[in-house]
């Protein structure tokens, strides 16, 4: 459902079912964890699992129960402060970088919090003859919000575990995965050309589909002629860049990118390492030989840009990407596959891997679509206030829910971010 729910007409039971399904998934994803794993936070960006579980509950409590429930009493009066992420309109927040210091509430207490919120939300929805538009809208926003945190659950956990020399594995490696780890490089990129034209981008916020406010409104854009790669850049491709001294020479790099490379000592994508002359990659399936045919992942926008420049190409603009992708069905390697890593291209499509595998860096700075208006109140802080210094990524990754993605979807990260499943598709001027 999710992105297809017509929420103004929403069948209550359908809403409740979707709510409970997504809420349950957050907990299912935690099953392989030890209690000790719930508290890790290596950097401010990578929040503890426990915090994700609590914050997503806080979202429903704050934006729905607090304003709608009769005789609302908070589950715990401290949680408003502890589990508010960044909503200044709601109030002060516990310091982001210190979330790992909250040993209390315990994991058990957070699960109790979740159960309590679930019960109350279901009761609230059931209490309506007709779910008010605003409640339905916020509920669906909360569901989508929780799906985003499910993705962060995986990316944050991976980064946090990576600090531990024991390199924990989220799931056992199957023979299939190990074999895939040895897949060879695949066929060269084919370039698919698009003539110059007017196109429309973004979507309007109707009652038919859920979209985030930052995807709105639909608007006209003029595209210059361009061509786009028919597949993602692979680990094998990226290895060539490394072996051609891509990280050694400043020639291909943006100035800020080169400064970042030098000050962090980057020599390869995050999670890659070389042992006895062979390259390996750490991931949710543990340590594996570098999978040559699979899309490269965990690169920053700087690395993506440098690779593109070295390839005599460039990154696509958001408009180019969205124009291309809007013509394709949403199929790909998503979290539902259970693989939790990129895989080599096997789609029989003209342009492959647009959805899933990795978020694709675009050259477009994250800003408002023409005519953009954020929602009123604190919930309006969801997307709009981040429209500076970040770059747009498109298409979802191997830890995104397939229900959660669409061509207009706008993900955004600072250009130096590497802990997401972020990769590269090339484009060129015609």
């Amino acid at each position: 459902m999710s992105s297809e729910v017509r929420f103004s007409l929403a069948n209550k039971q359908q809403l409740i079912a979707q709510f409970l399904k997504v809420r349950q998934h957050s907990e299912i994803y935690c099953q392989p964890l030890e209690i000790e794993d719930y508290g890790l936070q290596a950097i401010a960006d990578t929040s503890p699992v426990k915090w994700h579980l609590a914050h997503t509950s806080w979202f429903f409590e704050t934006f729905i129960l607090k304003t709608t429930e009769i005789n609302f009493i908070p589950f715990n009066k401290h949680y408003e402060y502890l589990f508010n992420s960044y909503y200044n309109g709601v109030g002060e927040q516990f310091l982001r970088a210190k979330r790992s210091l909250l040993s209390r509430p315990t994991v058990k207490e957070v699960y109790e919090y979740r159960a309590n919120i679930n019960t109350r939300i279901v009761k609230l929805i059931e209490s309506f003859d007709q779910v008010p538009d605003e409640v339905a809208s916020l509920l669906i926003l909360g569901i989508n919000h929780e799906q985003q945190h499910q993705e962060l659950f995986f990316t944050d956990l991976l980064y946090n575990w990576y600090q531990n020399p024991l390199l924990p594995s989220y799931q056992a490696q199957t023979a299939d995965k190990i074999n895939q780890g040895r897949s060879p490089q695949i066929a060269p990129i084919k370039w698919i050309a698009y003539p110059e034209q007017m196109t429309t981008l973004g979507v309007n916020n109707t009652d038919k589909f859920f979209v985030f406010d930052n995807e709105t409104p639909q608007h006209k854009v003029y595209l210059q002629a361009f061509e786009i790669a028919d597949r993602l850049v692979t680990n094998a491709d990226f290895l060539q860049f490394i072996e051609a001294n891509g990280y050694v020479s400043s020639d291909y790099w943006l100035s800020d990118g080169w400064t970042t490379v030098k000050s962090n000592g980057w020599k390869c994508p995050l999670y890659w390492f070389k042992r006895d002359g062979d390259w390996y990659q750490y991931g949710l399936n543990g340590v594996q030989p570098l999978n040559l045919g699979a899309p490269v992942s965990h690169v920053s926008a700087y690395e993506a840009d440098a690779f593109a420049r070295w390839s005599n190409a460039r990154l696509p603009t958001e408009a180019e990407w969205e124009h291309v992708a809007s013509k394709f069905e949403i199929k790909g390697n998503f979290v539902e596959s259970g693989r939790l890593q990129t895989e080599k291209n096997e789609q029989p499509l003209e342009v492959k891997q647009l959805y899933g595998d990795v978020w694709e860096w675009t050259s477009t700075a994250y800003g408002p679509h023409p005519g953009f208006n954020p929602a009123k109140g604190a919930v309006g802080e969801y997307n709009g206030k981040f429209m500076c210094n970040q770059q747009v990524l498109k298409g979802g990754s191997c830890v995104t829910s397939s229900e959660h993605i669409r061509s207009s979807y706008r993900n955004f990260f600072y250009p130096d971010a590497r802990w997401q499943f972020s990769g590269i598709r090339l484009a060129r001027d015609l």
Copy 2:
């Protein structure tokens, strides 16, 4: 001349005259300084005057003399390292933040360096029957480069002096300026509407006019309908924002902007201060009562954006601004006026102050125009490698040369920069 020179046909004497004129201006601007003033550098961004004088000479020496002069011998073999700003293609650079530590070469020696380069450039140009295109092109680039550093001379000097409680003044305050300091607020903003339309932006690099590579190529853009303010935001306007707790409430701020405000303790534009209940502004004319009718200056993109949001408006996009400005003549309060500060609007134009007074922050992230290609070699690092994390500003300021500006000109700074003469023009969706 500068932006109007047809350099392929350039008359040698014309080229030499323009070269010498601009070179001389750099030295004229230094006349009020004490030797001690030449070495100041408060932050990495604000280079010492002496360094500007040497670096602009190094530019001609490196990009023209070194490749063209027969039996080239560097003026001083250490200067290539000391006065290279950021050209990795030329070699390593002395650390930017430490430029103030170069007491040697002395000011006198740097003036000797300048004289030497001037003589050799003139001799070189005179040695040609017909100045080769590439040499002419680099010479004009060097002239424009020096003009940019003349602007930085003023903005860096002001920032560096500002650290000194004695608050030195670059020039004596005339009665005129003091009176102007008491000019009242001016008429409210009028909004000028533009319908949706296709337009062309950027310029092509022809042999008729000099432009920087980042202004090219000319390309088509689709504009949504919008309206733009007929004048700049004034100090009086901005004071209202302050008095309405603009710096106290997070409501109007981008997330990164709010973080910046908090961590720097910003409470007003740079160089403003309050004494005994009255507002003053420090500038190149010393300390003056806040000039209510003059455009606000020395605000970051964050402050510009927050002010716009508080005004139920937004910043213009670069495309909107350029579309509007391309229809107006280049007239305004530039360095040639000798005022060296913003002044109240007195232009009898439908849209006033587009040129001069302050660089106008746009909402557009600095990136390549579609089809952009940087120049080959080290000189290609001039603009292209900075196309990330910065924001476009348009129109020139009261310390820009009027010869140096045009509607396609793209200035760029990080959104937290305040030491330029940067201000605000509002726009709105229609």
Copy 3:
């Protein structure tokens, strides 16, 4: 036993009993904890509980089993790296500040590690007819080392919990404690005079008593005449300093101390806070009204020095303190009392509270006693390499084991440290 064991003659069963008793205490102290509490580390100084439990086991494994056990196999080959604190002679160490990122090994696995080491140590000791001196010596060192970490267990846990607005409590507050929280200020300080004289300080490392190497050798010192306070400085005393603007005026402060006060915004001892006009103190018994009659705790050497200066007194030198304390029996408020906080003075002694309650800052920089020689090998890094920039504290605290302390005992911390139970005794020249 501990400090009284004659280890060369040590009865094996006595050694084993003492070993197991101390090892068991580390685990008993953890009983009130949730699993989530074991991983907290707010700053590099305050290691996670789990790390303390593992590191103390690593100490026995590395310094005894590894060198003595036949066919030694490490419990886990990664632990040598993960749980080495600072012994460069053993090898590289996992970064101290990142210990909280080790969710694995789990708490359960660390307890298994502890049990394994216990079994092997007991088996090893039992395998000897006569325990070799070196083994006995290292075993007793390891036992004393574990007692030190038991103290750190309490002080680190308290600091780590303090970051959490929920302010967890280690144990329930008894009525007794709450009443004590209201104990009034006690009688004024009496000054006890000591004439100038030769004295001996330190101890020799004989086979009769265990001492740390930094307490050796015994040596002669000449003392000037002085007088010493008969009791510790109380919370009531320190409150007067605060109310006399002690933290506001630079007059009483060492230069480095004043810089520290300003940059940290210190306004009172660590864990004090004011609510609705009343002072409270957070501690292992939770939040309590400030106990006026109890010794002030959690002050830095800077605060101790400033308080002393404000009192027209000074801190005692280590020699003065040790000379005085060596004449008194070791009795006081130690961890065995179960109070885990300072208490008001009720000792019928001429000089009270020399032992227990708080570590007493001296004015003596931590350095080697004349003739000091650290042990050979990596274990020689235990104390000697820290003899710079730190200050000596004497007498033990309310979370020290009474078995662990003596007048020659030298504790040492940087002068800005506040997370230990550190307090103040005054002295004066005569």
Copy 4:
């Protein structure tokens, strides 16, 4: 005169002569400088020359003229703030790290300030029939203070110039100096033994000799038996330490020292560098081949301690050093020699080089002598408030005035400081 003046009986003309002589020397030392050199400040510690010239004048103005002159008017009302170093009792201070940003007052204005203060001080002294003790005392303190800043003039200038790849030279290298630069290693250290004994250290503040307050009072100390090296550690000695991997292995280092070495990447003393396999040293005479027979200089206390440990020795305590040195005449390589660098030992003494060449690191933390009382008022901040975290150095250096030193003189720096002429003498337990 200086340290020998009986100031209560001081002949006015003698006082004035000494004042003018020392004041003049500050200016003589500046003669080789360019105006640009006066403003350099590479780090907070190394103040600009201009600031030293002004601050020493401020000292006389603030502590003598302001309290004694009739109808005192400050030379410039801003100077109290700008040129106060660290006297909180006088008022707030301009931020130390930003002194290089004061291009105004100019060098010329500062010399005018100096002249003005000189005139007024002379006039004031001449106005007395009998110079009051307090004025005489402060005048002599000011004279000694200025001598200290003359030493800092040299050490700060050298450090500031060192940042410039042009490596300016303060004076031309004479053939003599260049030859000396090739002097070979000298005879091995001989050890001079001292039996255990009572001794007296420090001095009492009588009217016979000027001493700083931190040298008082005289007090009894018990010395253990020890032996001390008959000469300083040479560059050749220290080179052996480097070649024995002294900077590579943690074995010899204090923990804080090792951290400092690693984080700063130290591989040799400050100002040493290797070029084409040969060692050179930069100094006030420019770049020279490493002078093997001369004392090593510009090492931190950490390096001194590590070298001593590697040599199976230790640093002397302050008491040991002072006990030894008090028996020797004050002769050595001081600023008056004009060499401005260390030289090889040619003294026909049992213990050589105790005075001059380099300040000798002791193992003694800088603290108060027993019974120490700082002066009343702001001038009491001169020494006392620094008695923490620093280490005592003894004996003066090649840029100290010979009039300024004595065996009781206590210099103090943080153990990581290297920009002073600081070196090493070894000691051992007997």
